[in-house]
Subunit: 221 residues, 2 copies
């Protein structure tokens, strides 16, 4: 089946590094679903009554199908499980599934303002559906190795000297704290002397991680 | 993007008539997700630890894109809303999204036994993902016109004379009662003299509806 983008995602996150692994993990990160050219804006009529929507989107940065088994980060990269038992981006059809919070819908402009996405800037979106709790919400569903391997967010330290010079808006600091607490480092890396850089909007945030504490070393525009 | 079926659905429901409008509405209806030829069965390894999965599937019976606005059945067919504010099958990319309960996983045979699907027999499936409550479950999300327009199931009457002759298994009766209580009739039809027929496995169930009571008139093999 041939599917075409119905919309594209605008995100403050221009690259995969730093983008959350699942929707909702960084609930303050804003984004926009913008209808693709040629889509009639009235496709969004009535959506403003819903608190949440589903996005079915494409892992556009990945090439190739990957293998039948993958190593989920939640298992520390040590155990291989079948790709359909994971949300891995390397799957037979590279489709992603995320629910995001609706902030507002601008039908005339064909834009949905949302919060909490795990989509990189520019991601193609293939479908938008309303979130319907009676069909979609199952809070008590057991979730295999996801349940058995919890994780704790990192403590994020932004020294006064760094934040003072950066002059960020309060909402950007909140979003950055959420993103950094998710530990954007690649698996297996645990070198406290190594410095990493995360891009957010036009900002570059540099940081180090020692133990469970992440310290921001600089914020540049 | 070109996507290919990774699996096909086996359902006791051979046609759209009688198939639930959403997943979970008929929780006792069984079904099987069978991997497509060429898929390595180990893609299912580890899935047995999850209570629920997502299926992303194709509305294979529908042709054409439909229009930007549709009349959801929940609004009695009277009001048109944007297609992305509905779960209508007539959408720009004909993708369906359903979560179903996992009963068991037969990795060797490449089969997932499930309950509660809203998929017709033979439906192509494009992705299978584990259900992860922390990302997917939002029980309190407001759902616009779906919240405002509740519906009540029909009362289903199967006269003793009819059920005695049919010699159905208990589980089939339970599933049929659920399916019939959802009122399979097309919108706008309310003719108590009209008889309808629902196919389930090799059974044909005939019924009439008067007011809020559905009465089964015959069950044939």
């Amino acid at each position: 089946m041939e599917i075409k983008p119905v919309a594209y995602f605008r995100s403050p996150l221009p690259e995969k590094f730093g983008t959350p692994r699942q929707a909702g993990l960084a609930p303050s990160v804003p984004g926009e679903v913008r209808l693709a050219e040629g889509m009639a804006p009235e496709v969004l009529d009535g959506l403003e009554g819903f608190d949440r929507i589903w996005l079915i989107w494409g892992f556009s940065l990945n090439k190739g199908e990957g293998s039948p088994k993958v190593r989920p980060p939640r298992l520390g990269g040590n155990r291989r499980v079948g790709v359909f038992a994971t949300r891995s981006p390397y799957r037979p059809n590279p489709l992603g599934l995320s629910t995001v919070k609706v902030v507002s819908v601008d039908v005339a402009k064909g834009i949905i303002h949302v919060l909490g996405a795990d989509l990189v800037d520019g991601t193609p979106i293939y479908d938008i559906k309303p979130y319907i709790p009676y069909a979609d919400s199952h809070p008590d569903a057991g979730a295999g190795f996801v349940d058995d391997n919890g994780w704790e967010p990192l403590e994020v330290v932004i020294p006064d000297s760094v934040s003072r010079d950066a002059k960020l808006k309060e909402e950007d600091i909140t979003a950055l704290r959420e993103l950094l607490s998710l530990d954007p480092r690649p698996q297996y890396q645990d070198d406290p002397s190594r410095e990493y850089g995360l891009s957010y909007k036009k900002i570059n945030v540099r940081f180090r991680v020692e133990g469970r504490t992440l310290t921001v070393t600089s914020i540049d525009r």
